[in-house]
Chain length 348, copies 5
């Protein structure tokens, strides 16, 4: 799964800008030797661990921080080291059918930012930041490395909003389905949605904690000005986490509604069918009685109805009467639905 490792670099400041790939260690050394206010080294793919170790060494990144960058997946977090701060986050890309989540590590030093992406799938989230740096005269060039780290985290967190919107759409569709035409697969769809919400929560909740930690902690690389911006990122990720929690409650509520609806329909079926059975059983008994073979000739008490002039119509009429009586009784109890059911305050 691990992607081949590719390294790209940007160096910029108020007075200059360069962007280049760094195919090997010598290129890196050359890049580091050239003056720049801020250096952004962007590593894509974590397969080449030796290269990553070397990059870490040249930038003075702690061994454990490098290990966290390379070993995917890690839990999202922010950790202050002596000379730099490590933030592990997850980027999401949502397609109609899947949700791809990928790790990105951001190391903020005094004059550099090192980003390590698990692969390039979601790399375009950072493309907007690159565009802003490339445009000459944009304010970002005048800020220090901490602003770049903010801009990257902002892009990463904002990348979760389409996921939230997608989930919001899905949950509204599911609600419509449950209310109008629940089907056998609905329960699985709700289950799958809950599962996705659990996954999203598991990635965004610790990210919020991490960013909280950055804000609370005494991270020396963060200027007071950038802290204000980072608070904004914290608001955004809080919004994501809140939404996920609300959707989780909603999904649970949908499941209840669904089960209640299914129950109602089942009850309705059983009721209609049972009513039919109940009406025809007494009729069957009446027919059975006049099918008995008592000898009518030995006694006037033995089934005289059989010899009546209107015996058969009498029997049919008796049946009709019974059926009508039972129907009337059911109607009176409100079991047949309709106006009477409303009056009797019945539901079934």
């Amino acid at each position: 799964m691990a992607q081949p490792t590719a390294v790209f670099a940007m160096g910029y400041g108020p007075n200059g800008f360069e962007e280049l790939p760094l195919p090997g260690v010598p290129d890196l050394d050359a890049f580091l030797s050239r003056p720049a206010s801020v250096r952004w080294i962007d590593v894509r793919g974590v397969a080449d661990r030796d290269l990553l170790s070397t990059i870490g060494e040249r930038l003075g990144v702690h061994k454990l921080a490098v290990a966290d960058l390379v070993n995917v997946p890690q839990r999202a977090k922010s950790e202050a080291y002596e000379h730099h701060t490590l933030t592990i986050a997850h980027m999401a890309a949502v397609t109609p059918s899947t949700l791809q989540i990928e790790q990105i590590g951001v190391v903020l030093g005094t004059d550099f930012v090192l980003t390590v992406q698990e692969s390039e799938h979601n790399g375009d989230l950072l493309e907007a930041v690159r565009q802003r740096i490339r445009a000459p005269g944009t304010p970002i060039r005048t800020y220090a490395a901490d602003y770049l780290a903010y801009a990257l985290l902002d892009a990463i967190v904002d990348g979760w909003f389409p996921v939230i919107d997608h989930l919001s759409d899905q949950i509204e569709e599911l609600e419509a389905t449950v209310l109008q035409s629940p089907s056998r697969t609905t329960v699985r769809q709700i289950h799958m949605l809950s599962q996705t919400l659990r996954v999203v929560r598991r990635h965004t909740w610790p990210l919020r904690e991490g960013i909280s930690g950055l804000l609370r902690g005494d991270v020396v690389q963060l200027s007071a000005g950038t802290r204000v911006y980072l608070r904004d990122v914290h608001d955004h990720i809080t919004h994501v986490v809140d939404s996920v929690d609300t959707y989780r409650e909603f999904a649970a509520s949908l499941m209840d509604l669904y089960l209640s609806t299914v129950n109602f329909r089942m009850n309705e079926i059983v009721k209609v069918l049972t009513i039919i059975s109940t009406i025809f059983l007494p009729l069957s008994v009446v027919a059975g009685i006049y099918g008995m073979n008592f000898h009518t000739d030995v006694s006037p008490w033995n089934m005289p109805e059989l010899g009546w002039f209107l015996g058969y119509p009498f029997a049919l009429g008796l049946m009709a009467l019974i059926a009508a009586g039972m129907l009337a009784g059911f109607w009176w109890k409100g079991w047949l639905g309709g106006k009477r059911a409303d009056k009797a305050g019945q539901i079934l």
Copy 2:
């Protein structure tokens, strides 16, 4: 959705008062150049972002704060900036059929308050504050800008009480419905109510956090006196949040009660119908037996009843006996309701 932007201003102090619309930037500049103890600039509609940026610049509002004012919806919050404090809140207006929620941002500076409403729908919540300012000699004119901010937040929070009352009414109606005449739509009504409660909670919970933050934090614009008033606002929003939590529990409890009631009625139907079935099946067998065609003439053992003088009454009596016996048995078991059911401690 974004409304065209309209700007209104009030300037006042112990000795004077003016109220005017600010159709353009020059009007704003003129207004700001005139002396006033407190200035309230009230923006309605967030469509004209350029205008809002300009207003923000003139008042020295931080770029991020302006972004929060303009980008709706934001999560409710309070954030201290160097020269001012931003509070994002939501105003609610309840109609018999809908609940309209709209964002309002309140920026408190040393001598001004900037409010930015998403639209004018709920703007009349603030009209009471305007009336108090307009009346000459009212105490509000003698207080600083922080008191105005308090008065606005108070009006916004108090605007949630009708929502709470409306929800309280709805939940009581629903309880009556569930206890007296639950219908098929009741489950959806409970679901909708739960959904509304989730929405209200989502807007009021962070608002409480925000106001807590204002009280706890070292917001320099807030005087000790106003802090006491703000504590009152905090009490009110806490009351709202508490009520919503109680109603949420109540709604869950109603759902359980409803399902239990529906279950009871279903059980009752199934029981009555099954009892009828059970009584008539044995009768059917008796009738079937005397309908068998065994030749009575080949043996005295072959259905001698058919030749009895009272054979038919005997058969009918047998049936009546069986039916009466089963009914008695059911009655004894308490399945027919009535006194015996009470004695037997039966419910069904």
Copy 3:
């Protein structure tokens, strides 16, 4: 609902005591002008807001505190103002059929206590405190105003114990009912009890928070000695809140037990009835077979049983055999209850 306002006063100290009603403001002024170590002004009914405002002014009570005293219902709380401390609490009076809850506000100043009751219904809770003050030479006369406030809060909190006891009795009765003779109304009784528990919790939980606040906060009016006593009040209210939480869990557990019991009985009914149906259906088929009209004369294969000497007993015997076989089968499966069911580890 608001009661007409009546004002009563007590002034006492180690050396003296007076108790009098204060029908008007001049009486109040006179009372305040006479020397006394501790003054207790007890207002019953909140209808006369002007009078309450005046009392507040004379005692130097903050406008917001007066508003909280007058506007019922408020959430229970304790709030420190510059010159006094406001505590809002709720008093409960339980009768066999209802639970009456009424607000009381207690304002503790340096040398006075102001209590404002919503009405006089539960006023006798405070009567015991009055008796202690009236008795000459009781220790309470030697303490300061904070001890009086403690004594009042103690009486208010202890007033919740009968409610808790009543609820405890109710829940035990309900448990007995559910275990022995659940009826259709049991579910509503559990629902009503849960509802009452929610109400009690809503009033006692914030009261505990309020008293916690008094203990934690730097309320200057509270001496270290009285703080120790107040900790006792805190223990009591914590006991109440704990009990309510335990009862809430118990009520939820009772609901589950009830539903499970109802389910069991329903299952039992359905099982018995279905067993009867299942036994008689095959018998019906046998009877039907021998009621077929095949011409026995055209072939020896056509229902020769009809001509057998013991054809009818054979048919009846066949039926008996089938019925016995099915009963045996059900017994063996343990569906008929009794020993076999125990052996087979069956429940139904």
Copy 4:
């Protein structure tokens, strides 16, 4: 319920030891006048409140602390007073059928420990501590009063372990019952167990809080060395509380498992019975058809089967075919269990 009050005393130090009953106040005074490093006054039964007040006075115990010792039941807690610390705890004694819980109050002064037990039922929990003191040369005699208080709390907390073990056994038995042979009373057993767990939790949870408070707070009577020991007691009570919480979850899980199992068996019964009904109904119709009385002589179309040579076997064969066909259909759908059900992935 209150037991007659009996008082026992122990006085000890590195150089001496005495143990005696204190039947009256003069004995107490004599005991207190004799020199001893540590005095343990052990009161059993709280009926004689006057005696307890006198003991409290002689030892300088706060009035409120004495009230807490005497008024049972109190919530478990630890409270620091100026000259001593009060700990209220509950002791448990488990018998096969009941769980007896009794209050004990431990007052730790600078050179004494006062214990007040509700009765003597569980008093043997403390007997082990007495034995240790009685044995000459044991380390406990060389420690101060705080170590004695620790030893007593340790014995009290360890007294909960048999309860936990008993509950653990019960829950394992219940699990076996639910999995193997659930019966109608199982649901009540689970309910009773949950109820017991709630009771245990209610007594141990605040005890843990209380001991936490002792550790955290600035209790001057506790030496640093004893604090380390007390941390051990805290670990034990935490273990108890954790176990109770785990068992509570387990009990809830057992209830679900039980209901699911009952449901399964009910479903099985309904299925088997319904299958039988469904098979015999069509047979009944076939028999009914050939029992119709159409005149075969008026038309060759009128029931010619009746006159067939093999008419009766044909009818019986038709019935057998229908029954076999339905059985095959049910088997194919996997409703009859067996291999086919496994292949079709069916459960019912």
Copy 5:
């Protein structure tokens, strides 16, 4: 259960290394007398309490710490003593059918680490650490005792990952089973999995707390450098706890899905069977009617159909018509499944 006690020792430093078993106390004394930067004494099995006490004494380990090492099982925790720090943890070994959990105590002194394992079952978790020490020139030899403690805790915590992976596999299998072919044992499998998750949580949650305590507390034996490494261990155990919590939610969700699926299938069975019953009952009545014995000769109204030329085909046709009509009705209601059911938005 207690294993015979075996003691192994390692002494190492930048310049030397020795590894030897310590069969008796003299060997221990000799080992302690030889110089070494770091000493690791590894005790396997806790049967020989005297030996453990002696080891504790020689190393200056607190009596209570020794008691915690010996008494298994203890709750996981970290506790600072004056001269050393005790950590109690649990090691897990997962086999296809069982989960073995064993206690290990780690005592960190200034220049030694004492580990006490409950038995040797899971001892190979520490073998990797031994290998690292044995290899000459590895960095671990240059670090102090705290690094060794870290390395051991790291190995212990990482030993939980296979457990997590195993549980993850199990839960995915169970999900597939529930979605594709739920069987009667599925509910027990989910129950067992939940039970295992509860056990794992109970062991890992306090371990995380313990490691948090190490990080937060002022443990003098821990250097700042090792603290950074320990933070990594904390991340890992947090990852474990998070996973367990997610799996627990998932298991609860699976149970719901399972019950819903079982319910669906039951409903399907009842529906199909009931439809069959409902269709055949009216047919039975028709057959019964034409089986009545009314004398056709006494009246033209008495069952003239019996004498019709096409009487029998008429009766059969009537039956077919009724059956077809009922089927059509059911189809129209969507109860037969198929396209119509989809159109009608029916689920059952």
